[in-house]
C-alpha cells in the first residue's frame, strides 16, 4: 500500500472522517488548530457537520447533542481547553453517550506553554470529570498509530457507550510521518436504540439523561458503570513491549517520550546494556499485569519511568511493579522534552547505583 506523508493533527482528523465521524465541534487552541481547520473543509465534503463553537464548553455540549442524536461526534482541544470540557465529559459518561475527544497536550499548569507536555495524565486517567466516571484513554506514539487509534476509539465509544480520549502530546500533532491508510473491517456495533431522534413506532419516547434523583437508583447506575469499567479493564488493555525479555532495565514511557526512550535503548544496546521499553498504548485501562510480569524477571534490576511531567504515570508503574523492583522516575516538564542522552544518563546512573 502507498505511503503518504501526513501531519499528526490532520491525520487524526482524516482518520475520524474515515471512521464515520459526521460531526466535529471545536474551538481554536494551539497545538491542535489543524484539526478544526482540516475539519472545516473535510466535514462538509463528507456530508457531515462542522461548527466552530463559541467555547470549548459549547463544543463538548454540541458533541453531547449530536451523540445523543446517534451521530459519531468528536471534539479536540489542548490542555487548558480540556479542563473546560470536563463538565461535558462527565455528562457524556453519566448519560452513557459515545464520543471521541482528542487532547493534544501542552505544558501547564494554567496557560503554561504551547510546547508538548504529558502533564494531563492524572486528569485523563483519574478524573475525566466530576463523579465516579472513567474514560478509555489511548496514547499514540506516532502518526500511523494516531490514525489507527482514532478509528478504534470510535468503535470503543460505540461499543461501551462511553467517551474515549486520544491523549497525545503536542509533538504528535505537529510532526509529519509517512502513514498507510488501512482498510478496516467494520466492527459489530450495538444498535443505538437509545438515541433521541423521534419516538418509536409504538409511541415510546427516548430521554437521554444523566439525572437520577433517587440516590438508591443512582447508586445502582454507578454500580452498572463499574461493571462496564471492569469489563473494559479486562478486555481493552493495550501495550507494546520492545526488547523487554531478559532486559536489565525496563523503561516505561508513552507517546513521544516512548520514541525518545527507544532511541536511548538502541544507543545503550551498543554499549552492551540490555534495555527494554514498555509502552502503554492504553493509559486507562492500564496494562498493570503485563508490566508486573516483565518487571518480575530475574534479569530486571530497575523499572525507570520517563514522562514529560513531574511524575504522573509513574504512580501506575508503581502500582504495577508493587515494590518488587526499584521504580525511579525521570521527567522533563513545562513544555521541555527529554533528550536521548539524558535518558541514557539516567540508565547509567541506575546501573552505577545497583553495583554500588
Amino acid at each position: 500500500m502507498q505511503k503518504e506523508l501526513w501531519k499528526g493533527n490532520e491525520a487524526i482528523a482524516e482518520a475520524a472522517v474515515r471512521a464515520g465521524c459526521r460531526a466535529y465541534f471545536g474551538y481554536p487552541i494551539t497545538p491542535q488548530n489543524e484539526i478544526p481547520e482540516y475539519m472545516s473543509v473535510r466535514m462538509p465534503e463528507a456530508g457531515g457537520v462542522f461548527v466552530q463553537a463559541e467555547s470549548e464548553i459549547a463544543a463538548i455540549n454540541m458533541v453531547y447533542g449530536a451523540a445523543a442524536a446517534g451521530v459519531r461526534a468528536m471534539t479536540s482541544s489542548s490542555s487548558p481547553g480540556i479542563s473546560l470540557k470536563q463538565e461535558g465529559i462527565s455528562y457524556l459518561i453519566g448519560a452513557e453517550l459515545p464520543a471521541v475527544i482528542v487532547n493534544m497536550m501542552r505544558g501547564g499548569p494554567g496557560l503554561g506553554t504551547i510546547q508538548a507536555g504529558q502533564a494531563d495524565y492524572f486528569q485523563a486517567t483519574r478524573s475525566p470529570g466530576h463523579g465516579d466516571g472513567r474514560m478509555i484513554v489511548l496514547a499514540p506514539s506516532g502518526i500511523q498509530e494516531a490514525a489507527d487509534l482514532v478509528a478504534e476509539a470510535f468503535d470503543l465509544a460505540d461499543i461501551y457507550r462511553n467517551p474515549v480520549m486520544i491523549l497525545a502530546d503536542g509533538m504528535i500533532g505537529q510532526m509529519m510521518e509517512p502513514i498507510v491508510w488501512h482498510e478496516r473491517k467494520p466492527a459489530e456495533l450495538p444498535p443505538k436504540d437509545w438515541a433521541a431522534l423521534g419516538r418509536e413506532g409504538d409511541g415510546r419516547t427516548h430521554f437521554v439523561t444523566s439525572l437520577r434523583l433517587q440516590s438508591a437508583e443512582n447508586e445502582v447506575f454507578n454500580q452498572q458503570l463499574m461493571g462496564k469499567y471492569q469489563q473494559i479493564a479486562r478486555d481493552e488493555v493495550r501495550w507494546e513491549a520492545i526488547d523487554c525479555q531478559d532486559a536489565q532495565i525496563i523503561i516505561v514511557a508513552y507517546g513521544t517520550t516512548a520514541r525518545i526512550c527507544q532511541s536511548a535503548a538502541r544507543k545503550l544496546k551498543q554499549e552492551g546494556i540490555r534495555v527494554g521499553v514498555f509502552r502503554p498504548i492504553g493509559l486507562w485501562p492500564y496494562p498493570y499485569e503485563a508490566l508486573r510480569k516483565l518487571a518480575e524477571q530475574d534479569t530486571v534490576r530497575s523499572v525507570l519511568t520517563v514522562e514529560m511531567s513531574l511524575g504522573q504515570m509513574v504512580e501506575d508503574v508503581r502500582l504495577a511493579v508493587c515494590g518488587v523492583k526499584p521504580t525511579p522516575f525521570y521527567g522533563r516538564t513545562g513544555g521541555m522534552i527529554p533528550e536521548t542522552e539524558q535518558v541514557a544518563d539516567q540508565v547509567h546512573q541506575i546501573l552505577r547505583e545497583v553495583k554500588a
Partner: protein, 249 residues
C-alpha cells in the same frame, strides 16, 4: 349523551408533575404539547431540558428529550439540529439557566441563527435551588441572596433577554408572553405555534419568553403570583412581539 369537551393532550404523558401549586411550568408544558400535537410533530420533535425545575420535562411532554448541563441547552440543541435538520428541536430553559450561566451559549446560538426554538421561562428567581437572585430578579425583589431586595447599585438592573437577543441578525422571531389569564394563555400558544412554524420554514432562531410564576419562592399564593406577573413583571418585561424578521421594520 355525553360528549368530551376537554381532555389531556396526547402531547402530555399520563403522569403527575413535581411542580408546586400555582407554578406555570405545567401550563407552558401543556401549550407546547398542544402545539406539537396540532402540528403533528410529536413523533419527530426533540426537546432539550437543562438543569432547573424543568430538567424533568422529558418525563412530562410526550416526545423525545435530552437533558443538558446547566445553561448548555443551546449548544446541545445545535448538535442535534445541525446533524438532523429535519427534526423539530427546542430548548426549554429557565432564567438562571439561560440568562446567567448559559449566556454565552444562547447569545452564540442566536448569532449563528440556529434553526431551533427556545422556550424561555422567566420567573425572576432561581426556583429549584430555593429562591436565589437571578439576572432577571426585579429591582427591590427579595430573594435568599438579596434579602433586602435587589439593589441596582450592587446587582445592576435585570436583563431583558428577548430584547438583547433580538439585536442579533440570527434572531428570526422573538416574542414575550405570559399565561396568567386565558386571553394571555391563548396568545402564548399562538406565539409558540408561530415559533415552531417558522422553525419548520428554516428561517432562523425563534425565541419565546414566558413570564412565569414561582409562588413558593416568591412567598405568594398561586393567585397572588399570577396577579404579580401581570401587575409588576410585565411592567418591566413588556409583553408582545419583540422581533419578527418576516415583517420589515
Amino acid at each position: 349523551m355525553s360528549q368530551i369537551v376537554y381532555q389531556r393532550s396526547p402531547g402530555l404523558k399520563d403522569v403527575e408533575t413535581h411542580y408546586c401549586p400555582g407554578c406555570h411550568h405545567g401550563i407552558v408544558h401543556k401549550l407546547i404539547a398542544e402545539v406539537l400535537t396540532e402540528m403533528d410533530l410529536l413523533d419527530t420533535a426533540v426537546g432539550v431540558c437543562p438543569v432547573g425545575c424543568s430538567v424533568l420535562a422529558g418525563n412530562y411532554i410526550n416526545c423525545d428529550f435530552i437533558e443538558a448541563a446547566h445553561g448548555r441547552a443551546p449548544a446541545v440543541a445545535t448538535g442535534v439540529k445541525r446533524t438532523h435538520p429535519e427534526l423539530p428541536v427546542f430548548t426549554y430553559q429557565g432564567d438562571g439557566d439561560l440568562a446567567s450561566i448559559g449566556t454565552a451559549e444562547i447569545v452564540h446560538a442566536t448569532m449563528r441563527g440556529e434553526k431551533f426554538t427556545t422556550i424561555f421561562i422567566n420567573n425572576a428567581i432561581y426556583g429549584m435551588t430555593g429562591g436565589q437572585m437571578a439576572p432577571t430578579t426585579l429591582e427591590g425583589q427579595k430573594s435568599t441572596t438579596s434579602q433586602s431586595g435587589r439593589d441596582r447599585k450592587i446587582h445592576g438592573l435585570p436583563v431583558r433577554m428577548a430584547e438583547m437577543l433580538a439585536t442579533l441578525d440570527g434572531m428570526a422571531y422573538a416574542e414575550r408572553v405570559c399565561v396568567a389569564d386565558i386571553p394571555s394563555l391563548n396568545k402564548a400558544k399562538r406565539a409558540i405555534k408561530k415559533a415552531f412554524t417558522l422553525q419548520q420554514k428554516g428561517i432562523g432562531f425563534t425565541f419565546i419568553e414566558v413570564l412565569s410564576t414561582c409562588p413558593t419562592n416568591w412567598g405568594m399564593s398561586p393567585v397572588e403570583a399570577g396577579r404579580w406577573v401581570q401587575s409588576t413583571m410585565s411592567q418591566y418585561y413588556p409583553l408582545g412581539v419583540v422581533k419578527d424578521a418576516e415583517v420589515p421594520a
